[in-house]
């Protein structure tokens, strides 16, 4: 195969693989660091790379790339660990993970859940890395076809998860989701920067910061709830956790392997969304979860600890990781914050992005994806055996766990902007989350609104302004229209399937 005047062969990839494997001494510490920063709310691969910029500048260019990529990929996986074990997503990209991961952990299946999450993340990451390597020139074109109109529909795919959540209690689900959308619209407007619902706080002019909302709705509210029990485990969960064994890890691997098609499908959703600049892991994981539930034969099990509900967001958010690097490498357009920082570091080293990169410096052009593949391979072998020990967290007494969760996550909410205000905001969201959980309003629905609401508004206003106020622009592109049809189908399909199932059952009983 020929790409950008470079003969791409299996032998070349094999040599590159062995060459990248030689950087294990950089990959392993970066991986450990990535897992830690990914697991702590407020920290992210992006701001860790910023902190370590002097280090990456001082390294050789290849070493710097391997370090950044390993840290980036492992932070994605790390974010899922606290999401599963203690219901606290490390980053917004893992916000859909606790929906089914945490109920599994509470039921004493934390080890299986972690193993599933690791395998889904690795398989999703590896698969999308390989696809990205092969289909890079074509994938990069996706970014050119996704304009504001198409992005509106992509956002609506994610937001329609609110309706999915609302299926259990329609009115409450919709109220929670719409409240999230209203909260997400706090701050100055996109065009004239008029302040809206800021309560006079300058700190809210940029909108509601995501980390305090995430910390409050998930971590703080959870900490105030779990103190009622000795541990977070249910009675059955305690029985299962009394005799931990390696068997549970293998069972998790098996559960994930059995759903291989699900991993492929959801990681591809992540890859395509990752390629689109401005989209990201949070959108991908919500869209993948919603898609997974829509096409499931057992949609009613989602949210109760269903393996597919865990596999979907975990494979999707790792699919995003390689996706964000595609436009960066091919057209020099970063797909996300971390990719943007990588751009700065690589430009400092004199790397010129674009198709010529693959012919002039293939060890960098292809090497960046190979570094990701090697990281995922090393990661699965090092982290999988640890799942048995990580689940011990679930048996820690809540009297010790709750204060640690509150203090460390509140400080985590201080880190991104260094405003003491954000810690108070996190506590405010904690109170909201506590009331919501106590009265059966889904905190995930509120969070989806807060994350996706402002993005949707931004794309909507841009599209409308470019069309001089003509709403018909929303249906003006072929890709957009195809996405609209897909959206309607996926939202309507579960209801249709449910109706057909009931009808078939009635016919059988007659």
């Amino acid at each position: 195969m020929e790409f950008c005047e470079v003969d791409v062969s299996i032998q070349m990839f094999a040599e590159l693989f062995v060459h990248t494997l030689g950087f294990w001494w950089i990959i392993l510490p970066a991986m450990l660091l990535g897992l830690i920063v990914g697991a702590i709310p407020g920290f992210s691969a992006a701001n860790t790379i910023i902190i370590l910029l002097p280090l990456t500048f001082a390294m050789e260019v290849e070493q710097g790339i391997v370090f950044m990529v390993a840290l980036y990929a492992s932070s994605r996986m790390g974010a899922g660990i606290p999401a599963i074990l203690v219901n606290i997503p490390g980053t917004a990209g893992a916000a859909a993970t606790p929906l089914d991961g945490y109920p599994m952990a509470r039921a004493g299946l934390g080890q299986q859940a972690l193993a599933m999450s690791f395998v889904a993340s690795t398989a999703g990451g590896l698969l999308t890395t390989i696809i990205a390597l092969i289909a890079m020139p074509w994938l990069a074109q996706v970014a050119f076809f996704m304009h504001s109109v198409e992005m509106i529909v992509v956002m609506l795919f994610g937001i329609s998860l609110i309706a999915t959540i609302a299926a259990k209690n329609t009115l409450k689900g919709l109220i929670a989701g719409l409240l999230g959308l209203m909260i997400g619209a706090v701050g100055t407007d996109f065009v004239y920067e008029t302040p809206r619902a800021t309560f006079g706080f300058l700190e809210l002019y940029d909108g509601i910061p995501l980390v305090p909302a995430l910390v409050g709705l998930f971590a703080v509210s959870e900490a105030f709830l779990v103190i009622e029990g000795e541990s977070i485990l249910t009675r059955r969960g305690k029985e299962l956790m009394a005799n931990p064994s390696w068997q549970a890890t293998f069972e998790g691997v098996r559960m994930c392997a059995k759903r291989w098609w699900h991993v492929i499908w959801c990681s591809l959703i992540g890859l395509v969304i990752g390629v689109i600049p401005g989209a990201g892991a949070s959108i991908a994981s919500f869209v993948a979860y919603q898609q997974s539930r829509s096409f499931s034969k057992t949609p009613e099990l989602y949210g109760t600890g269903h393996p597919e509900g865990l596999i979907a967001p975990e494979s999707a958010n790792n699919g995003v990781t390689s996706g964000t690097l595609v436009p960066l490498m091919v057209i020099g357009l970063p797909g996300g914050a971390t990719a943007a920082i990588m751009l700065v570091v690589l430009e400092f080293h004199g790397v010129n992005f674009g198709p010529q990169l693959f012919s002039e410096q293939p060890e960098i052009g292809f090497g960046i994806f190979m570094a990701m593949a090697v990281t995922y391979l090393l990661m699965i072998f090092t982290i999988l055996p640890l799942s048995r020990y990580m689940t011990k967290v679930t048996i820690v007494s809540t009297a010790f766990m709750a204060p640690v969760i509150i203090s460390f996550t509140l400080v985590g909410s201080f880190v991104p902007r260094e405003f003491g205000f954000d810690m108070g905001l996190a506590l405010g969201f904690g109170v909201l989350g506590y009331i919501a959980r106590r009265t059966n309003y889904h905190v995930a629905a509120i969070l989806i609104g807060i994350i996706l609401g402002p993005l949707l508004e931004g794309f909507f206003l841009r599209a409308i302004r470019m069309a001089n106020g003509d709403l018909g622009v929303l249906f003006s592109s072929n890709i957009g229209n195809a996405l609209w049809v897909a959206l309607v189908v996926t939202v309507a399909l579960p209801y249709l399937l449910d109706y057909l199932r009931k009808r078939r059952r009635q016919q059988k009983t007659m």
């Binding site: 109220i175 209203m182 407007d189 302040p195 105030f224 009297a399 880190v415 919501a436 009265t439």
Partner: protein
């Protein structure tokens, strides 16, 4: 104490508690509308669209609540927010400590404030028991946090006397 028949009876929904979020959403939406009344349409469009739907849904929920109360399916109580009752004081204590943590951290810095918060919160949740373990854990976690986040990661955590002292020594 409840007699057996009363205890066996299914409990009514605490609709007062269930109304907290819808009423809060209603008040917030009205406040939002107030702040954008004189703004350009770009600031109003999506807020009016989403806000109006939210208000309609909240009004439907309030209407349904009156119906549920009339039918005897629920009452105006807030009991689900405060259950179990043994934990009300502990939960309020933890909330007060959390507010204190946020208020004091900018003066005392991460390490000292985290240590104090962890000790007091752990003692509160353990009802005064396991004091030695609480002290040890709080010390390990706060100093460990300092070493990991401030020393190793060079993160800008709130700094106070301990951090300034260590900056001078290191």
């Amino acid at each position: 104490m409840l007699d057996e028949t009363e205890a066996d009876r299914p409990r009514k929904r605490a609709l007062g508690a269930e109304l907290v979020i819808p009423v809060g959403a209603l008040v917030f939406t009205l406040y939002y509308f107030y702040t954008i009344l004189e703004s350009p349409w770009t600031a109003q469009a999506s807020a009016f669209f989403i806000g109006t739907i939210l208000i309609v849904l909240v009004l439907i929920f309030i209407g349904l609540t009156f119906r549920w109360v009339a039918k005897g399916e629920g009452d105006w109580s807030f009991h689900t927010l405060f259950e179990p009752h043994d934990y009300v004081k502990i939960r309020l204590g933890l909330l007060a400590l959390t507010v204190g943590y946020i208020a004091v951290i900018s003066f005392l810095g991460f390490t000292i404030t985290t240590f104090l918060f962890l000790v007091l919160a752990m003692l509160l949740l353990n009802r005064g028991r396991r004091a030695k373990l609480s002290l040890t854990l709080a010390a390990i976690l706060s100093v460990g946090g300092y070493l990991l986040f401030i020393v190793a990661f060079d993160t800008n955590f709130p700094e106070g006397p301990f951090e300034f002292l260590m900056n001078g020594i290191l």
